[in-house]
């Protein structure tokens, strides 16, 4: 079980406060979506949570311990992280790429054990990339590679998972697959935090949304409460069609408001 608590978190990058005054308790067993417009500080927030950027104010605690005080290997085994983008520098096979997820469990110079292989197989199966195992990960399509990188994060076998835009470049079918997968991780007791841009997917699968804008918290709660027409207008600057006849709202962005974006 992993819990994360944010207490008045402030992160400054290049002298500018990118995240400020953010507080939240993130409990195990939930899928929490972090939403907000481009440049809202979503990625910076999750990077700070992973200890990749230092906080300049407040505190981030994982299981009650400040992130800075947790050893990097220990942290890696507690929370797996899927960075934004699809950075991969060498033409590794998918199987070898997914195996990187086992590195936090390996002592120097040691090799993979059967338990590691089992975790790798399981992760590839769950992310639907087992059939791609011998393919060069750099030659996959964007969506296939995104799933292979997700499998890499799953292979860590951590109780926490932070995924920064896991749906980018996925087709609708695989978007649903990935959201189902994240939700099932949460149902099995993991704490899953996902930075998302697709508001309908966020509303349908997340138990809780954290809406931030300009680095500041705007709303925090169940999707239906967070995603109101007023807030969509204030943060994203859009009007949207919101269908509330289902358990979770369906959100279809319609147009920009308050800004003339028509080309001449």
């Amino acid at each position: 079980m992993v819990t994360v608590s944010l207490e008045g978190v402030e992160v400054r990058l290049g002298g500018r406060a990118v995240v400020s005054g953010l507080s939240a308790d993130l409990a195990a067993g939930s899928l929490i979506g972090v939403v907000g417009p481009n440049g809202a500080g979503k990625s910076t927030l999750v990077r700070a949570l992973m200890g990749l950027v230092p906080v300049s104010g407040g505190a981030i605690r994982v299981d009650g311990v400040p992130v800075g005080a947790i050893g990097s290997k220990d942290m890696a085994r507690r929370i797996a992280y899927l960075p934004q983008g699809q950075e991969l520098h060498w033409p590794l096979s998918v199987e070898r790429l997914v195996a990187l997820g086992r590195l936090p469990h390996l002592a120097p110079f040691s090799r993979m054990t059967d338990a590691d292989s089992a975790a790798i197989e399981d992760a590839m199966r769950r992310a639907d990339v087992a059939h791609l195992r011998h393919r060069n990960a750099l030659e996959l399509s964007g969506g296939e590679r995104a799933r292979a990188l997700l499998a890499r994060a799953l292979a860590v076998g951590a109780k926490g998972l932070v995924a920064d835009e896991p749906l980018a470049s996925l087709d609708p079918g695989h978007q649903i697959d990935v959201m189902e997968l994240l939700a099932s991780e949460a149902r099995n007791g993991a704490l899953v935090i996902a930075v998302l841009h697709d508001l309908t997917m966020a509303a349908r699968y997340c138990s809780r949304l954290l809406l931030i804008d300009g680095g500041m918290p705007v709303a925090d709660g169940p999707p239906a409460d967070v995603l109101t027409p007023r807030r969509l207008a204030d943060t994203y600057g859009i009007s949207a069609f919101i269908a509330r006849d289902r358990a979770e709202p369906l959100i279809v962005p319609l147009s920009r408001i308050g800004r003339d974006i028509r080309p001449d």
């Binding site: 990749l52 990097s72 960075p83 590195l103």
Partner: protein, 336 residues
């Protein structure tokens, strides 16, 4: 699912194959030379029962030369493989961080001021110290940045500065002979190396090699970028320190006894990669063996190719290396 594919068989044969190649190269290096020795005299010399001339040729000349070649080649191959993985750049080689140029500058200073004449150890020691000074400068220039581009830029600055120092020494050389001596040294050679050179190179290569060889997991993690590696528990600052010290000490020690020998560190990892799963850790040990074998074979070629004035090893590695490299790249149809 677990059937052995062709690439996997290639992977399995790689290390035994390279070990055999290295043994063969080392054997040739001891057995072949301008003076032909019959197998019986050769074995006699090696077992300490042969005639004095054979003993001098084999034990005092060829054996140290072979050992220096193996040590220098292994270090260059390994550090090339580590640096390509660490900087995530297929063009990286031991000289990219300035270590080899700086070590060469130290050696040139020793020759220029006549220190090399005073004591045999002056040149290698100055070379190693100069390599370490370059490392310190690199740290100052690169600061806390962990980006590979910053490291490469800082390395180019250090390397260019050391190159300018070498040019200055050539420029101000008191007489043509001093300039000639510096030039000859810069071409790179392992000729006339005595067992003393082995004792200078060995500790440096051992320390450097151990520091670098232990970086495999961190290099693999870096395939996912800095954030990806950190989130897998890699201490990037520690890895950087390890790699820089390993390269400065190891390559500094190698350059100190052999002069500047280029291309081995660049080419060897590329030749090895197709026989592995292409992960940075998989090419470390093979690159070390292949570097040692390649340099030893090039040194055998230096001895066997008849030329008026003796051929320098650095020249041969470049002439051998570039065509091999190009053919390899064309067959692979991609850089890495």
């Amino acid at each position: 699912m677990h059937s052995r594919s062709v690439p996997e068989i290639r992977h399995r044969l790689l290390l035994p194959g390279l070990t055999l190649l290295l043994l063969a190269a080392a054997g040739m290096s001891v057995a072949l030379g301008p003076v032909a020795l019959a197998p019986a005299r050769l074995l006699g010399a090696l077992s300490g029962q042969g005639d004095a001339i054979a003993h001098t040729i084999v034990v005092d000349l060829r054996l140290p030369r072979m050992l220096v070649g193996v040590l220098v080649g292994a270090m260059l191959g390994l550090s090339g493989a580590v640096l390509q993985g660490y900087l995530r750049n297929p063009l990286a080689e031991p000289s990219v961080l300035g270590a080899s140029n700086a070590a060469a500058l130290g050696a040139v200073i020793a020759i220029y001021f006549g220190l090399a004449e005073l004591h045999g150890a002056a040149l290698p020691i100055l070379a190693i110290l100069s390599g370490l000074a370059a490392l310190a400068l690199l740290f100052v220039l690169a600061g806390r940045s962990e980006s590979p581009l910053t490291m490469i830029l800082a390395g180019i600055a250090v390397s260019t500065l050391a190159g300018a120092g070498i040019s200055l020494a050539l420029n101000l050389a008191p007489n043509p002979f001093a300039a000639m001596e510096i030039m000859t040294w810069l071409l790179g050679s392992i000729e006339n190396r005595a067992i003393g050179h082995v004792w200078i190179a060995l500790p440096c290569v051992l320390v450097g090699g151990l520091l670098l060889a232990g970086c495999g997991h961190a290099l693999d993690a870096l395939s996912l970028g800095e954030d990806g590696a950190k989130s897998l528990g890699v201490d990037l600052g520690g890895v950087r320190l390890r790699i820089l010290i390993g390269v400065a000490v190891g390559v500094g020690g190698a350059v100190a006894v052999s002069g500047a020998i280029g291309f081995v560190g660049l080419i060897v990892p590329h030749l090895i990669r197709p026989f592995t799963d292409r992960s940075p850790s998989a090419i470390l040990l093979p690159s070390m063996l292949a570097g040692a074998a390649l340099l030893t074979l090039a040194d055998v070629a230096v001895r066997l190719i008849p030329t008026q004035s003796e051929l320098r090893l650095g020249v041969v590695t470049a002439f051998l290396g570039v065509p091999v490299f190009l053919v390899h790249l064309m067959r692979e149809k991609r850089l890495w």
